[in-house]
């Protein structure tokens, strides 16, 4: 045989690991170096290595970019093996990161302009474009500025300008956007978070005090049971399954409840089908199971939740409606949704849970209706699957067990989004799974920095750090602070938000510097105010635009022409604008809307500026992942062509505006002229570190707090040092402490020590707040500070101090009646809310049908859809509930290989190769019913629009028995759009309705009615 001879011939040079191939003998070279890449190892070994972060889902995996020393170009991007979150691993999207870089020929490299009625892009210069844009912003602002509202209250706002985006930017860039837009007076300010995890913030804040994921990605690996519901984590957040599978190796069970059997279900121990939009019923049944079978963690709920609180006599619930409903206003008067107070103003409690008006008993009564048969008839889930899943999951109520819920947009994107999340948060509280390692509510964020962009508040309803947007009725800072600073009579409640004045004043000092003084209320009057009750979130923004009332629109790193629901309405709304500025790394259906399907460019007067932006590896800055970890990344290469980072673009644009207002004056120029805007380096380029430090905050004078003294100009090393008298600045209080007093950037840390052995990695990067890795961790211990489960001790009171994670507040454990504090420090009562009266639909989650339901009558009450959801009235906003033309339930979703509308991923050949075209998944039974075979081209149609795509006929969907009838549901990806690739199909959001969650305005993308026919 010749094998040995050839082996000798070809291979003898490759002895030993670490030997570069270039050292092979000449004869061997042609064979081994044949495949492209064999010289690559030498190139990569000599290249500059730069740490970066993945740009897709919010697991935000670490990357290593290799930059060729000669060309300065990135030649290789792979997972960062040192990053403890992904440990070198990447999904398809992360692995394709090189195709996001400058080497992708589709990247935008020039400033482009489309004139009114024009049918092509023209190349322009930055100076020309930014001057034009600044002039246009100023013209609209000066003309349309609203100083006073109809009631005569000073509002200082502009409604004719709107902004969207972006969670694809770094924290520092997001903060600059929020800052600049407030200075301009915008109130129509929103971004992806609104169509994404808006309901998480509202729901979790009401239940627990903060609106974010409680634990972090690695901690999923510490769980005994991982339930995935309203999510498809293995596909949408692939690296979370690194940790879910790690848990499984240690014996954990994985459960997946979903309308489809997906890549997540494929590795789960249990999968159950359910009808899209019926999650509250499914979870309501679990709450009943836990309560009636005493599966709850009694000591936990007694001490750490409001289970024992006595509900006011006036509160009631009847046939799907809570007390106080006003059918005309479609709103509740919530005055009866309160606790009975004792003489001191403290809620009355019954720790024995005997009182029928205590929250636990009220809950038992509320969920008594959710029996197996009822839940099965609503959800379509077989009773045996319900029993198995309820039993397996509720076993985590044991003191030494922990279960985690992984959810994402499958829960948030519903008219009942907030209540979907609320329902399982109640389960987690009942089982004692909040605050503990391996437990928690994993709100898996979708975009790479959507946690950060939410924290920075590119949102209509909040300011950075979740401070409330000022309302018109709050005419002075004092009134604002009085209204928004909660008070409590509960003796052991920390009521952390009592510090609101320090955070608000420090924010105003950051924005307006010396012009923010005690005398002028720290320039509170500069902030735009919305009328009380006025909603200016994304759906309203588009509605207003569709009415022609918005003239100018800036949009960054977002593709609403595909991502907005009922997107025909959005596309038509764009045609009513005078001008649009779009900033992105690739062209998309938003920037090019004027040449889209059904559009006649000649008739569209909207001017469009398309500005080329830098991608993630071309700029330095921080991103906050879904687990609140802020990580720093560095510049691996220059942006291609004329492209600039968003930080640079906005820095220059605001300078132009300042210059214009200075030279030419204008309406209410003060907030623009007085805005602190010193965020450039010596070369005049955007300096992300300078912004990050401003966000962290400075001492503006020498300050002594307790026994610590600080000098003017030092960084504030933690928010407990912030002041309400103007002596500190801080751009976002929850970031305070990300820099040390001497200015060291803790976000950039890369130390891998893990003292608890539970994967907290306290010196890797930095987590808000105060580097705490698990929120509410004081609930992981008993009243004496001893961990419920010693095997998973993230925190322990030992020798008079806390050991482990950064405790959620410094005080001793609860048993210390004088100094001890309750664990849910952001809630005025100090405990978590099983009864949550702060939300629009009611204090207990209740099943309501989607707005477009297959049913004519509810199977559980007299109330079909939620009585308070947000609906819109334009001619585009059609609804077809229980309509024989559209009688299949449809849900939209994403796949691993694309990110959101595909605005970035469709330009990447490695990804479009794997998932080339739009498809609709239908069951075999459905295929037979409609004569559709696998691979057939079909039309999916709702009352609002239609798309053509490929049918995937599969055993992974099946018809369900709902209300005694057979019901079919189908599912379609929203990853596509008409622009590129040309044959990939248009957006599934042409089908979805404009209907919103009443608390947040987050749209319903996940349950609506369609027809499917063969083309």
């Amino acid at each position: 045989m010749g094998v040995t001879r050839r082996e000798f011939l070809f291979i003898s040079g490759t002895v030993g690991a670490g030997l570069a191939l270039s050292t092979l003998g000449v004869d061997m070279q042609p064979v081994l170096a044949y495949a492209e890449g064999l010289n690559k190892i030498d190139q990569v070994k000599s290249a500059r290595q730069t740490y970066s972060l993945c740009y897709h889902c919010a697991v935000t995996c670490g990357l290593v970019c290799s930059t060729d020393a000669k060309t300065g170009k990135v030649i290789n991007i792979e997972g960062d093996p040192d990053n403890p979150i992904n440990e070198g691993s990447l999904c398809a999207k992360g692995a394709a990161s090189l195709q996001m870089s400058a080497r992708n020929e589709h990247r935008l490299t020039r400033v482009l302009y489309r004139k009114p009625g024009g049918d092509k892009w023209e190349v322009k210069t930055w100076d020309w474009a930014l001057t034009q844009i600044a002039r246009k912003i100023k013209a609209v602002r000066d003309k349309e500025f609203i100083v006073k509202n109809a009631r005569g209250q000073v509002v200082n706002r502009v409604e004719a300008l709107a902004h969207m985006g972006s969670s694809k930017l770094d924290n520092e860039e997001c903060w600059m956007i929020t800052t600049a837009m407030r200075a301009l007076g915008l109130v129509y300010l929103d971004h992806q978070a609104r169509v994404c995890h808006g309901p998480s913030v509202a729901s979790l804040a009401e239940s627990l005090g903060r609106g974010s994921m409680t634990n972090h990605v690695i901690d999923i690996g510490n769980s005994d049971c991982v339930i995935v519901m309203g999510a498809n984590s293995a596909e949408a957040h692939p690296i979370t399954f690194r940790w879910a599978m790690r848990a499984k190796e240690k014996g954990a069970k994985i459960i997946h409840v979903d309308p489809r059997f997906t890549r997540t279900s494929a590795v789960a121990d249990h999968h159950a089908f359910l009808r899209a939009g019926t999650d509250v019923a499914f979870v309501g049944g679990m709450i009943k199971y836990i309560l009636e079978n005493n599966k709850y963690f009694e000591e936990y709920i007694r001490n750490y939740t409001n289970a024992s609180f006595i509900v006011d006599e006036k509160f009631s619930f009847k046939d799907g409606l809570f007390s106080g409903y006003d059918p005309t206003a479609r709103k509740y008067d919530k005055s009866s949704w309160v606790f009975k107070l004792d003489a001191n103003g403290v809620p009355e409690k019954d720790p024995t849970f005997q009182n029928p008006r205590c929250v636990l008993q009220m809950m038992k009564a509320h969920y008594a209706r959710y029996d197996f048969e009822k839940v099965s008839s609503i959800t379509g889930t077989p009773v045996e699957d319900l029993k198995t899943i309820y039993e397996v999951y509720s076993s985590t109520g044991a003191r030494d067990k922990a279960g985690v819920i992984l959810y994402a947009l499958g829960w948030t994107q519903h008219t009942v989004g907030v209540q979907n999340i609320r329902s399982f948060t109640i389960v987690q509280l009942l089982l004692g799974n909040i605050g503990v390692s391996g437990g928690g509510v994993a709100a898996l964020r979708g975009q790479p920095n959507v946690q950060g962009s939410t924290d920075q508040a590119i949102l209509a309803h909040i300011l950075p750090g979740y401070l409330k947007t000022p309302m018109a009725s709050l005419t002075t800072l004092d009134e604002y602070l009085a209204k928004n600073t909660p008070k409590t009579r509960e003796p052991q409640s920390a009521n952390w938000y009592q510090n609101t004045p320090k955070y608000m004043v420090s924010l105003l000092k950051t924005w307006f510097g010396d012009k923010a003084t005690q005398e002028n209320g720290f320039a509170y009057s500069y902030l735009p105010k919305v009328d009380d009750g006025q909603v200016t979130t994304l759906l309203d923004q588009i509605d207003k635009m569709y009415e022609g009332k918005i003239k100018g629109f800036t949009c960054v790193g977002q593709n609403p022409a595909c991502s907005n629901p009922n997107t025909n309405k959005t596309r038509k709304a764009f045609a009513k604008l005078d001008w649009m500025v779009h900033i992105n790394i690739f062209d998309n259906e938003t920037a090019s809307f004027w040449k889209g399907p059904g559009m006649d460019p000649k008739k569209i007067k909207t001017e469009v500026f398309l500005l080329p932006a830098a991608a993630q590896m071309e700029k330095a800055g921080s991103m906050s992942n879904t687990g609140r970890w802020l990580q720093w990344k560095y510049v691996a290469e220059k942006p291609p062509g004329d492209a600039l980072s968003m930080g640079d673009i906005l820095y220059r644009l605001v300078l132009k505006l300042k210059d214009l207002y200075k030279k030419e004056k204008g309406t209410f120029a003060a907030p623009i002229l007085d805005l602190q805007w010193n965020y450039a380096d010596a070369r005049g380029m955007y300096d992300s570190t300078a912004v990050a430090k401003a966000m962290n905050g400075y001492f503006l004078e020498d300050v002594t707090v307790g026994d610590k003294s600080f000098k003017k100009g030092q960084c504030v090393p933690g928010f407990s040092y912030l002041q309400a008298d103007g002596k500190t600045s801080c751009g976002i209080w929850i970031h305070c402490g990300s820099f040390t007093q001497d200015g060291t950037n803790l976000i950039a840390r890369r130390k891998k020590d893990d003292p608890t052995g539970l994967g907290l990695y306290p010196e890797w990067a930095w987590a808000w707040p105060m580097n705490r890795r698990i929120l509410y961790n004081r609930a992981s211990v008993d009243a004496n500070g001893q961990p419920w489960d010693p095997k998973r001790a993230i925190l322990k009171w030992e020798g008079g101090k806390w050991v482990g994670d950064v405790p959620d507040g410094p005080w001793p454990p609860l048993a210390d009646k004088e100094k001890g504090k309750l664990p849910f420090i952001m809630k005025p009562d100090g405990v978590a809310s099983l009864f949550g009266p702060g939300l629009a639909e009611g204090p207990f989650p209740e099943h309501y049908e989607p707005l477009e339901s297959p049913l004519a009558k509810s199977l559980i009450s007299g109330q079909l859809a939620s009585p308070v959801i947000r609906i819109f009235k334009s001619d585009c906003d059609k609804i077809a509930a229980c309509d024989p033309r559209f009688h299949f339930v449809c849900s939209t979703y994403s796949c691993t290989e694309h990110w959101c509308t595909g605005a970035d991923t469709r330009w990447q050949p490695w990804l479009t190769e794997a998932m080339p075209q739009a498809y609709v998944e239908v069951s075999k039974e459905f295929g037979e019913l409609r004569g559709i075979k696998n691979g057939d081209k079909v039309k999916v149609e709702s009352v609002r629009g239609k798309v053509e795509c490929v049918a995937m006929v599969t055993t992974r969907l099946r018809p369900l028995k709902v209300g005694g009838q057979t019901l079919h549901q189908v599912g379609i990806t929203y990853n596509y759009g008409w622009l590129f690739p040309k044959d990939c199909g248009d957006s599934a959001n042409l089908l979805t309705p404009t209907a919103g969650d009443p608390n947040t305005g987050t749209p319903e993308y996940r349950a609506f009615m369609v027809n499917v026919t063969k083309v």
Partner: protein
């Protein structure tokens, strides 16, 4: 027993995220090709000169009526006694070889002198493909450049769930056997495929034919 390196592909851990499929192209500089949606997640449809690593998808119903969806992250098995090397060698002695240290099976430019169909059919796993332009035969090279430089193969590095592990063959064999024993408790059909004959060892929990026609030799 053959020394050298091995990869364990434990399909019971795979979520088909396709990080491996893309990471392979990224490292090797292979292009994405134009494909069509034909009613499956699997794309491109087959291995080719541009695709040396492919996640195959297959679905159906189990005996209990519940769905299954199996993922088979396919690549060259790097046989201990590679028949392709013999076949190519018969026509072009310098066309293919086996690396002495690692055991990686490698094709070189002279492989174009061997008849493609004969080489392809000589492989029990249907792995070799031909570059249409150059006629050179191609397949996975076990990232020989990386593994001789203290780096994991691209596909293994990218794998999030531990479905792919790379190491010394002895250790991998040991790991494979232990894993099969563990899996057998829940899946009586669990097995490691062609364990003694290949370096890239697949673990399946069901009939291998349900994963891929050429999963097992």
């Amino acid at each position: 027993m053959a020394k050298g390196k091995s990869i364990l592909v434990d399909t019971s851990r795979c979520t088909a995220c396709r990080g491996c499929q893309v990471a392979c192209k990224q490292w090797k500089g292979l292009p994405g090709i134009k494909t069509k949606q034909t009613g499956t997640y699997q794309n491109p449809p087959d291995l080719s000169a541009q695709t040396l690593k492919l996640v195959r998808f297959s679905e159906g119903l189990k005996e209990n009526g519940k769905p299954y969806w199996y993922f088979f992250s396919e690549q060259c098995r790097h046989c201990i006694e590679p028949p392709c090397v013999d076949t190519i060698g018969g026509y072009a002695p310098e066309g293919a070889s086996k690396d002495k240290e690692t055991g990686a099976v490698l094709f070189g430019p002279k492989s174009k002198e061997a008849p493609f169909e004969e080489v392809r059919t000589s492989c029990p796993y249907n792995i070799p493909r031909q570059d249409e332009k150059t006629k050179v035969l191609v397949k996975c090279n076990l990232c020989i450049d990386r593994i001789t430089n203290n780096r994991l193969p691209s596909c293994v590095l990218s794998c999030p769930t531990g479905a792919m592990v790379f190491g010394e063959r002895d250790a991998i064999l040991d790991q494979a056997k232990k894993r099969v024993e563990f899996l057998k408790q829940a899946y009586p059909k669990a097995q490691a495929l062609n364990l003694d004959e290949v370096r890239v060892i697949y673990i399946v929990t069901d009939d291998p034919k349900k994963y891929h026609e050429y999963a097992v030799a």
